[in-house]
Amino acid sequence: MDKVRVRIENLNKKFRVFHESPLTFQRAAYNLLRGKRGYQDIWALKDVSFCLNKQEAVGLIGPNASGKTTLLRIIASIYAPTSGSVHVNGRVAAFFELGSGFIMEFTGIENLYLYGAVFGLSRRQVKERIPDIIGFSELNNFLDIPLRQYSFGMRMRLAFSLAVNIDPDILLIDETLAVGDLAFREKCFRKIEELKAKGKTLFLVSQHLDEIERLCERAILLDKGEIKAIGPAKDAIREYKITMGK
């Protein structure tokens, strides 16, 4: 029981998509008067149940718009579930579109403090970790320039180095490792193995199936909001290839 970090049961997520987006008071009043609905409901996740355990890396695969990012955002408490239950036991760090939470006008260092603050770390706690973060990212020469000047790869390095050094129990990573160069990716993979050995839980979204196969014991195949396969990574990947082949 204690080894379960994330337990999700019968999770459903509905999005209300307005035809006129973003909505205005004017449009809302118009819809009301005309008796129009003006929106449609989309079920992004349907009856999803699974667990993530300590000391494992789980892959999340599936075609675009299958609900992968939505699922990650729900685990990170950014979205509220429409129904079903989500239990998270531990501190979550989530990285979507890596570096999207960064402020472009700030330098690398300032962004580290900022992100640490979002994660609930004090300035001092971030400061203690900075040498490790710098060491891992190999960005020593760039930390005092604004993030705007960074390339995608550099932003990803910064974000990943931060993510693995702030010591979360559960790390959610959304399609990000791919932008790193060969050497850095190798380093990330080793780091992920290391985190796993330390008892952390990793949940990775990726279209790079070889990455998933290499890092994850288990994988979940999501399609149109439903779990199509869950089990050993190899099997889920094979299933995915079959569905895509059709």
């Binding site: 999005f15 973003p22 909505l23 205005t24 008071f25 004017q26 809302a28 955002r73 990170a76 408490s77 950014i78 979205y79 509220a80 979550v92 989530a94 990285f95 979507f96 579109e97 999207s100 939470g101 402020i103 006008e105 700030f106 300032e110 403090y113 900022l114 640490g116 603050a117 979002v118 609930g120 770390l121 004090s122 300035r123």
Partner: protein
């Protein structure tokens, strides 16, 4: 509710970081920035002085000085609201990808404007002295006036920023309302212009009571009317509580609407 406010304290580092960003964006790291931010209210002072002393002769002695005492509190309220309403939407990438109490975003904007306001007041002091308004014991009322204005602005700004996520024409409504509201507070005229009969209704508006308070304390060197200030304090606390509570209700649904 108390829990949520305590929670804000935990995120003070984040608020600080957002403040620094706010100031950086505002002043582009230049010292001249302070003067740029003064330019807008000062321009208004010039315009109103021209209209009300050259074209229409208003019966207020040292009218420009009166304007200087009232325009800064108004300017704080006005620009804090205008800047904060769009703040959550402008930081959409932040809200969509991280979990934290989203009210810190508009709150940081209000605080940025608030610090600006305090600087304005500091600059005003030598001007007041120059025009023969001595330092007075009634200045002790200033913290209370500032407090009322601050929490009133905070409450409204947080809620406005939250609603704007869903209804993107709220900023037009806000701009329009602020323009109208400007004439319901004693910035370009004194309280004496309001007929005695209507005055008790007029002063039920907490911002009117606050700005009249600034006029009394800074311009006339008199104590403000504590009855109205007490009411304004109460009203502001209620408005803040309601707005903050309403924001907590809609907060969960914000990220998916961005």
């Amino acid at each position: 509710m108390v829990q949520e406010i305590k929670n804000l304290f935990k995120f003070r580092e984040l608020i600080l970081a957002l403040l620094i960003r706010g100031f950086k964006a505002k002043y582009k790291n230049s010292f001249l920035g302070i003067f740029w931010s003064l330019l807008n209210p000062l321009l208004n002072v010039l315009i109103f002085t021209f209209i009300f002393t050259v074209i229409i002769k208003i019966n207020i002695k040292s009218y420009p000085l009166y304007l200087l005492c009232t325009i800064f509190p108004w300017n704080f309220f006005n620009s804090a609201l205008i800047n904060s309403i769009v703040s959550i939407v402008e930081d959409d990438h932040f809200v969509k990808n991280t979990f934290f109490p989203y009210e810190v975003i508009p709150l940081a904007v209000v605080i940025t404007n608030f610090i600006n306001f305090l600087i304005d007041l500091l600059i005003l002091i030598p001007v007041l002295l120059l025009f023969g308004r001595g330092i007075s014991i009634v200045w002790f009322y200033i913290p209370l006036l500032i407090f009322i204005g601050f929490i009133l602005t905070c409450g409204l700004s947080i809620l406005a920023a939250g609603i704007y996520v869903t209804f993107r024409d709220l900023n037009f409504i806000l701009n329009f309302s602020l323009r109208l509201f400007f004439y319901f507070v004693p910035v370009i005229y004194t309280l004496d212009f309001i007929p005695q009969k209507l005055r008790s209704i007029y002063l039920c508006n907490p911002l009117a009571a606050v700005i009249d308070g600034f006029a009394k304390v800074l311009f006339y060197g008199r104590a403000p009317d504590l009855k109205w200030l007490g009411l304004a304090t109460l009203e502001s606390i209620i408005i803040f509580t309601l707005c903050f509570y309403a924001f907590q209700k809609i907060k969960k649904a914000l990220p998916e609407q961005l």
